[in-house]
Amino acid sequence: MEQLIRDKIRQVKKGDQSAFEDVIALYQDKIYRHCFRMIGNTHEAEDIAQEAFIRAYVNIQSFDDRRKFSTWLYRIATNLTIDHIRKRKPDYYLDDKIKGTEGLDMYSQLTSRDPSPGEQVESQELQRSIHQEILRLPPKYRSIIILRYLEEFSLQEISDTLDIPLGTVKTRIHRGREALRRKLRYV
């Protein structure tokens, strides 16, 4: 796997655009999922994930072959999402029109209240509230908690990915964990 990626990146560096398609195929789910968990909105997550891949392609020459490509890619995606969250207006309003659709507003993004059978509902509700709590964390904790427990990165990998000292990563994980514990205690 690592070797495959390395070869593909080498081809991309030589200017072969089609090799990058394979790179996208390998990482699209991970990067999209990461963005979605950071942002909490499918459209924005897709835009940002796309932007992350485009940035990676444009700046491929500055990527150091000896390092891990995924680490580099995650860093681009994380920085983009955090920038995006910072710039974002207070959040969206339910009456907002959704870009690129006709006549759809944010109400359509709300899940319907129709009851769906038993356990499924329960687990969906649980998933939603967990996701909501992740989204309520400040972005700098959020990215680390997502990387640690959803992407299952090691502490050292998180430190490399986000370019943050290991000690800081640990502190933020502790705080993030505590915050989530308090929120999810009675779920």
Partner: protein, 212 residues
């Protein structure tokens, strides 16, 4: 042990896998006594399990296509290289075609020597072949890379390649007319364009084949 600072610190270290043997013992013995800390650890572990149980999310369909379309254009050279790899047969056919064409061109451009079919009574002055007025050339006349003046008669076809048929006005001082050229009983075939030349060659080849 102070539950809020020390014990909680150890619990987080434990969750990160950073505990030393001594700290492990210390935390273990504390947890046996302190129910609050047991609960705290349990809640943290449960939080992590909950986090890890979240649903699988996949990228939207067409994601990679959308990205590929938005990438800046790649260098031309690379595109060609990939084309060669993808269609070796087409490319080699094209190359052979180019070589053939360039071969024809070079034979057209390089052979500038005057070639005349073997016939008696022809006068050759530099690059000009003259059929004198009182002469009748029997058989086909072939001139390559030279001009031709016909004052006499040619009893057959005339083929003129890369040269011109000069009509000798000075001699008879008559207005230019078709009849002023000496007589040619067969076809007058003049080739001085490269495509005519190719066509002529192709025609010859086919004629050769059918004659055979």
């Amino acid at each position: 042990m102070n539950c809020n600072d020390e014990a909680h610190g150890l619990i987080h270290k434990y969750l990160d896998g950073d505990l030393t043997k001594a700290e492990e013992k210390e935390l273990g013995s504390h947890l046996e006594e302190c129910e609050a800390c047991q609960k705290h650890l349990y809640e943290l572990k449960r939080t992590i399990t909950l986090l890890q149980s979240t649903e699988h999310i996949a990228a939207p369909a067409n994601f990679s296509n959308n990205v590929m379309q938005k990438l800046p254009a790649e260098k031309k050279r690379v595109t060609y290289l990939r084309m060669i790899k993808a269609h070796p047969l087409v490319i080699s056919a094209a190359l052979i075609f180019i070589f053939m064409i360039s071969g024809v061109f070079s034979s057209w451009n390089q052979d500038n020597e005057l070639v005349v079919s073997k016939q008696e009574d022809l006068i050759i002055e530099g690059d000009t072949v003259i059929v004198p007025a009182d002469v009748t050339v029997s058989g086909d006349l072939y001139v390559e890379n030279g001009d031709l003046i016909i004052d006499g008669t040619v009893d057959g076809n005339v083929t003129l390649i890369n040269g011109q048929l000069i009509e000798n006005e000075a001699m008879d001082e008559e207005p230019l007319m078709a009849g002023s050229v000496g007589e040619v009983s067969g076809e007058l075939n003049q080739v001085d364009q490269i495509f005519d030349w190719i066509w002529y060659q192709v025609k010859n080849v086919f004629q050769g084949v059918f004659d055979f």
